[in-house]
């Protein structure tokens, strides 16, 4: 064993400096997870403000200008502040333990990649108090609304995006280096748990597309301050180019937010079905397939910009193809459950809800792939319903499932099962009440990102708002449950779950501060 990680064998430092200077993967994982939870609540409050304004037609609480700032910040914070850091946090905690490594491959960089984030988001949130207000052009920041017509705070937004990008890239490099180089002897690629596999593929996606995002915001910065015209038609540029470059990043980004979720669910379902994952190799290959395809479908976000017929048909075909590997995954999960011996602890409940609700999101995705039909769906609440189904009961539920699943290993105590179930049912019901009616108002013709709407959309909007508040406040149960688990939960065994298998469960609960200092031998 070498590298800087295993040389010291003492426990954590005490006080604040433990967290500031830590290079321990478990500490950094914890930091990431708490950070993402804080961001989740922040972004959630913005969502509730949006929903509260949309409770009734007319303008009640906030003005359109501020409404646009809220939708923009909600999107950015949830994508870059909540979902992505949560997955990186889980990766930090679990990947070294799953592959039998003592720590991440680059522990110092690991510390750095976390500590950039609070600064990036402080900068981003501070724009809310700036003159002219926060970014108000949607999280997709289409030019020229985000360049020529942007508030002055756009410069801070650009720097914040750069910092988040650097953080993600460093995280991805670290994860790849760990998986490729620090596996315990005998842990070949074939034996890697699916969470590790999906994260490996996700990390490659991050390396491929985060620099492109950095590129596109740099071009914006140059357009705004240095007189170039990448996106300005007057100088020979093209606003549609922005959309192409953005979605070249944006579509793989969607998979960055869902592939690790696939991995988590693929860990949980076999455990509670007490049965090996069905078609493990196919799962890996289907993930790779989705990753490949994600690079050639970006323009399905732009069916209405006026592409030539050939382009339109090409992107329609390519997009529809994604349904195949995604279907393979869902079928494999169901086949894993089939003829198993199922129990329904909280992580399993979240995983089951994930399978059903993510699939519903997948169905609406398939509908959106049909280009002519997309002309009707595009930029309506149908799209909002679609991607929230994929991201909330998809990515977010998977993260919660993972948190409940591994919490006993992290803290050494079980969370309260009753409270977990209450949290699950409140979230499940809340999510569906919020997002299901959005399909209807979308089909009926309500555009997205509007602060006020025509009367025929009123009732479903009211319903959605009620659901949003149920979902939002039920997350406080989660917070309480986690705190309860850390402080005085029932003592957990090393194995934790009856059906669990994998290296992480061979460690004591709670996992010691330094684990696998001596590499374990795998079979």
């Amino acid at each position: 064993m070498n590298s800087s990680v295993a040389t010291t064998h003492h426990g954590p430092a005490s006080g604040l400096s433990r967290w500031l200077y830590t290079t321990n993967h478990k500490d950094i994982g914890t930091l990431y997870l708490w950070f993402s939870f804080v961001m989740f609540l922040t972004g959630g409050c913005m969502a509730l403000l949006i929903r509260a304004e949309l409770f009734q037609p007319g303008l009640q609480l906030i003005q359109p200008e501020f409404f646009n700032q809220m939708t923009t910040m909600h999107g950015l914070i949830m994508v870059f502040g909540a979902v992505m850091p949560a997955f990186v946090g889980l990766a930090n905690w679990m990947i070294p333990m799953m592959v039998g490594a003592p720590d991440m491959a680059l522990p110092r960089m690991n510390n750095w990649s976390f500590w950039i984030l609070p600064f990036a988001f402080s900068m981003m949130l501070s724009t809310l108090f700036m003159e002219g207000g926060a970014p108000n052009f949607g999280w997709t920041f289409y030019a020229p609304l985000s360049t020529t017509y942007a508030p002055p705070s756009v410069t801070f937004f650009i720097f914040a995006v750069h910092m988040m990008g650097i953080s993600s890239i460093m995280g991805a490099i670290n994860i790849i280096a760990t998986i490729l180089n620090l596996r315990a002897p005998g842990m070949n690629m074939m034996k890697l748990p699916l969470f590790v596999w999906t994260w490996l593929i996700t990390a490659f996606l991050l390396i491929a597309v985060m620099p492109v995002l950095a590129g596109v915001v740099t071009m914006m910065l140059m357009d705004i301050h240095f007189g170039t015209s990448f996106f300005n038609a007057a100088g020979g540029g093209d606003p549609v180019l922005f959309q192409h470059v953005f979605w070249f990043f944006g579509h793989p980004e969607v998979y960055i937010m869902i592939l690790p979720a696939f991995g988590i669910v693929s860990e949980i379902i076999p455990t509670f079905a007490r049965k090996k994952l069905f078609g493990y190799p196919s799962m890996v290959y289907a993930t790779a397939s989705i990753a490949f395809l994600s690079f050639i479908v970006w323009a399905h976000h732009m069916f209405t910009v006026g592409m030539p017929l050939v382009g339109e048909v090409f992107f329609m075909f390519a997009t529809m193809l994604i349904a195949v590997p995604t279907g393979v995954k869902v079928f494999n999960w169901v086949a894993t459950m089939f003829r198993g011996s199922l129990t329904f602890e909280t992580p399993m409940l979240f995983a089951l809800a994930f399978v059903v609700l993510f699939t519903i999101g997948g169905f609406s995705g398939l509908m959106l792939a049909i280009a002519p039909a997309d002309f009707q769906y595009h930029d309506t609440y149908f799209v909002v319903a679609h991607f929230h189904y994929v991201l909330v009961p998809g990515a977010v539920f998977a993260i919660m499932a993972g948190a409940y699943y591994w919490l006993p290993k992290w803290c050494g105590n079980y969370y309260s099962e009753t409270m977990g179930k209450v949290h699950f049912w409140c979230s499940f019901i809340g999510v569906n009440i919020t997002f299901f009616p959005m399909h209807f108002i979308g089909l009926a013709g309500m555009p997205r990102r509007i602060p006020d709407y025509a009367l025929q959309f009123a009732d479903f909007n009211a319903v959605a708002t009620v659901g949003a508040f149920i979902f939002g406040f039920s997350q406080l149960i989660f917070l309480y449950n986690v705190l309860h688990c850390i402080r005085k939960g029932r003592k957990a065994s090393d194995e934790v779950w009856e059906g669990s298998h994998g290296l992480e469960w061979t460690l004591p609960s709670p996992a010691p501060y330094h684990s696998f200092s001596e590499a374990p031998q795998i079979k």
């Binding site: 491959a105 620099p211 071009m219 038609a233 093209d238 192409h244």
Partner: protein
């Protein structure tokens, strides 16, 4: 090979890929440009003079529409001499756009052409066009800006209407409007 070595190698590769992809993001700009010119995506057309074609396809007539659009804060009057013309592919069409500067000051404009359907863009040949260069115009004056255009006879058969639009942008340096920056603050 020691683990440290392997690790360093992996990291080097990954960092190199990142730099490469950052470059690729910028490379998308010219790639997109070339792609547009070949396919006519977005109706983008060449800003260099074309050679007039020697054959005229008398067998069909194309409806050519000329459209003028003012971008925001472009206070000129801007319109084509004739909106609709019918011509055979290969035939040369000579026309002009009127530009009238309604303000008191000298301004410079740039016209940006666009063609719809975008599929037809590569077949619209501009032999002479005011969009090739920036157009200065003194305050309270006007001029006819020439346009000589023809349609390539190899235009696909199913296209019978072509719209050529020009959007006029204000590119006057420094003083975008009569109201200076300090005055704008007190508006």
């Amino acid at each position: 090979m020691s683990i440290i070595h392997k690790k360093t190698r992996t990291v080097k590769w990954l960092v190199a890929s990142c730099v490469l992809m950052f470059g690729f993001g910028f490379a998308l700009v010219p790639i997109y440009d070339v792609f547009c010119r070949i396919t006519g995506l977005n109706g983008k057309v060449d800003l260099i003079p074309a050679q007039p074609s020697s054959v005229i396809d008398e067998s069909r007539q194309i409806k050519l529409q000329l459209v003028a659009v003012n971008n925001e804060t472009m206070p000129w009057e801007f319109k084509p001499k004739t909106v609709v013309t019918r011509l055979s592919p290969g035939e040369m069409h000579q026309t002009a756009y009127l530009a009238r500067n309604l303000t008191e000051r000298m301004m410079i404009a740039q016209a940006v052409p666009s063609v719809s359907p975008s599929e037809a863009a590569p077949f619209v040949q501009k032999i002479n066009c005011f969009c090739f260069e920036r157009q200065p115009l003194d305050g309270r004056s006007e001029k006819w800006m020439p346009l000589v255009v023809s349609i390539d006879p190899s235009l696909p058969k199913h296209i019978s209407t072509i719209t050529l639009s020009y959007t006029l942008f204000d590119i006057t340096p420094d003083t975008p409007s009569t109201v200076t920056l300090s005055e704008r603050g007190s508006l």
